[in-house]
Amino acid sequence: MNMTEEDKPDKDEKAKREELLTIGVSPHIHDADTTARIMGWVIIALLPITVYSIYIGGMSTLIVVVMSIAGAVVTEVVIQRLRHIPVTIGDLSALLTGLLLALTLPPRIPFWMPLMGGIVAIALGKQVFGGLGHNIFNPALVGRAVLFVSWSKYMTTSWLVQPKAAVVNTAAIRSIDALTKATPLYTMRLVRQHTLSLSASRYYKPLLFGNPWGCIGEVSALLILAGLAVLLMKRLVDWRIPVCFVGTVMILSWIIGMDPMFAALSGSVLFGACFMATDYVTNPMTVWGKVVFAAGCGVITVLLRFYSNLPEGVMFAILFMNGMTPLIDRYIKPRPFGHRKAVSEA
């Protein structure tokens, strides 16, 4: 007998501690990652590009970013109040939507546009479907699409050269600017149509280090890749989406006779593939579903780029594939463990 009389707890204490035991279904421990933490890491991954872009674009860029985030977050609060449900801006998803939207906008647009975009993104892109997790389309891209079709003048003609970015590679920019006064993508379209001859590789350096033509988030391909590296290191996104998306664009561009490297670096392919197509809610759940989704995005991007009159196809490509996602999830399912034999017997 190891127990003496003193060791034995008295009845009262025993009864008390039984009252206090908690029950619940396993598992009794959980991973530390939460929605807020994931969103937070995506925001951190976007910070370098945001900061660099503000440095280059100055006040006007900062206003776009702030207005877009404000529009998104305030709309989330207002709608959740109206719906009498808990306000969930603490999960940072509205903030992230606002930031993502800002990064897809041109740096110099009137202040009410990003505000409008933020409101539309949350209201029509997310909350009408029932909030986080229920939306079919990427909310930030919904916001951008509405701005794009409503005020396309602002959205396209402000693809102007940013003076500060020109510091990065003055020679290349001056020559291109003098030649076309257009974005590299548009220039390349002219090249393809043999109305112009220009080597694509001269664009590599500005596109990588300081792109003066693009949207806020496209200012440097290198920083986009740095953000992707953060996401991959934290295992937040599946590498297949950016790789398949960009890979498809490169291969198809090469087939139709464009410089594949240029096709990947210019426009919003890289940003879209790394941060827009990887949005959890609006892409398929399975590994192969994600591959199909990303490849589809790539195909449609190239089609829109070169066979439509839109300046860039990434946004509509992703939105279109967002719409296809439920269908992909319906047909591409994992084969459950141990089902192989049953199939072969049947």
Partner: protein, 458 residues
């Protein structure tokens, strides 16, 4: 093809999760547990119909005496774990949640052995049938947690030849170290027990599968097994590596077909504790009356690996380890991933109790969402060792869509808990799946009775 195999193991490695191991008691030797004043021995400690009591209140029983048995094939007898007087045979809370008919024995402290306890002779000269009979008489069930009667497991039908016996020393559940210590301290007994299993099923080969995070266990098991040609297979340290189907897939590359048993692919898996218990039955003649239990968690004063008599209450074991600390949280039988939370500490240690885990209230997870919310991150799908789609199972179960649940193979789920562990919104996916399985079963029953009724009318 070897490269295909290595590719596959690389892919399968990514499934499952890697919770913090917390194997705090990995270096504490197995020590004798409390000497309880009263043991409460449930008459159901296995999968299958419960035993009938063989003793009445007031009777004197001896250690190792059979006190409950059943006519049913899928069942295992239970034995007295102390000598003393039977004070009652009545229902008592059981760790699985129900009240179960249990034999209360007041110990006389002498642990007097029953004359039934004697070695049956050399198992290597017995026929497989004789071995199975002895194993049944010894009350041996799977000690990994499922508590399936071992003699049934070791009776493969003639058309399903067994070629391989895998001794499961994965112990992938966090906190638990009972199997680990057993492999370090009783490796020779485990090896001998596994040879008896091998003989009973007529297998050609025995492999001991151990997670690579237990180098001392791997060393002592390889040492003990060398003489008999038993190899150690090093498993990746990942939960749920010790789950039977996952284990067989990792070791042999064979997938146990849906709804089937390991014998379909010519394999038998037995826990290291089961092998040691079998060796006890043949070497010393002692039936399964005690087992190694890991006591751990931040809610108990001292972690330990204890040899505990079956029927000792959790309260006695916790007191033996210095009592609870901090606020009361959860008291769990088993590990934190699949263990059963207890509502009372008065439940007894049973054959399937691999661990007693006390988690204090302060650090307890409490953030389950009020409703099913999914951000479609896809982690549950990616990590599911059974390749199911837990988010769909969860949302369909939440909505009561039983027909659709069946289409997504809810019955294939082994409730390992990877999905609920990894879920960023902390959905109680295992709970929803359990509810879903119930719903599917109820619906199936209803449909059957409906069909029966309509066919009668015709």
């Amino acid at each position: 093809m070897p490269w295909a195999q290595s590719m596959k193991s690389l892919l399968s490695l990514r499934r499952g999760v890697a919770p913090p191991a917390n194997k705090n008691t990995a270096s504490s030797s197995i020590e004798p547990g409390p000497g309880p004043e009263i043991v409460i021995i449930p008459l159901q400690q296995h999968i299958g119909p419960p035993c009938d009591p063989l003793v009445k209140a007031g009777e004197r029983v001896l250690l190792g005496q059979k006190i409950g048995d059943s006519e049913a094939y899928v069942s295992a007898p239970v034995h007295a774990s102390v000598s003393g007087e039977v004070t009652a045979v009545r229902e008592h809370p059981h760790p699985t949640g129900q009240d179960v008919l249990s034999v209360f024995i007041k110990s006389d402290g002498k642990d007097e052995m029953s004359p039934e306890v004697r070695p049956p002779g050399d198992p290597m000269e017995m026929s497989p049938e004789q071995i199975r009979v002895r194993i049944r008489e010894g009350g041996v069930v799977g000690l990994g947690g499922a508590a399936f009667p071992t003699h049934v497991k070791l009776s493969p039908p003639r058309d399903k030849p067994i070629e391989l016996v895998i001794i499961n020393g994965a112990e992938c559940e966090p906190y638990l170290t009972a199997d680990h210590r057993l492999m370090v301290e009783r490796s020779a007994d485990i090896i001998k027990g596994s040879l008896i299993i091998k003989r009973a099923v007529g297998a050609q080969k025995v492999i001991a599968a151990i997670e690579e995070n237990k180098p001392d266990a791997i060393e002592s098991m390889s040492e003990a097994g060398r003489e008999y040609g038993i190899e150690v297979f090093e498993l990746p340290s990942r939960y749920p590596q010790g789950a039977e189907k996952t284990l067989i897939d990792t070791v042999t590359g064979r997938e146990v077909p849906r709804g089937g048993l390991p014998m379909e692919v010519g394999v038998i898996v037995d826990n290291v504790g089961t092998a040691a218990a079998i060796q006890d039955v043949f070497h010393r003649g002692v039936p399964l009356v005690e087992r190694v239990v890991t006591v751990s968690g931040d809610g108990v004063a001292r972690g330990a690996n204890l040899r505990v008599k079956i029927g000792t209450t959790f309260a006695d074991v916790i007191d033996f380890c210095g009592g609870f600390t901090g606020q009361r949280g959860k008291l769990i039988m088993g590990g934190p991933m699949m263990g059963l939370a207890q509502y009372t500490a008065e439940v007894p240690v049973i054959k399937a109790t691999s661990g007693i885990l006390a988690l204090r209230g302060e650090t307890l997870f409490k953030d389950e969402p009020a409703h099913f919310t999914c951000i479609r991150c896809g982690r549950c799908v990616r990590q599911c060792p059974m390749d199911l789609m837990p988010y769909i199972l969860g949302s369909y179960s939440d909505a009561g869509m039983w027909t659709q649940l069946e289409d997504f193979y809810v019955d294939d789920c082994n409730e390992c808990g990877c999905c609920a562990y990894i879920c960023p919104t902390k959905n109680p996916l295992v709970q929803l799946i359990k509810v879903g399985k119930e719903g599917v079963a109820r619906r199936r029953q209803k449909m059957e009775s409906f069909e029966e009724a309509t066919s009668k009318r015709k």
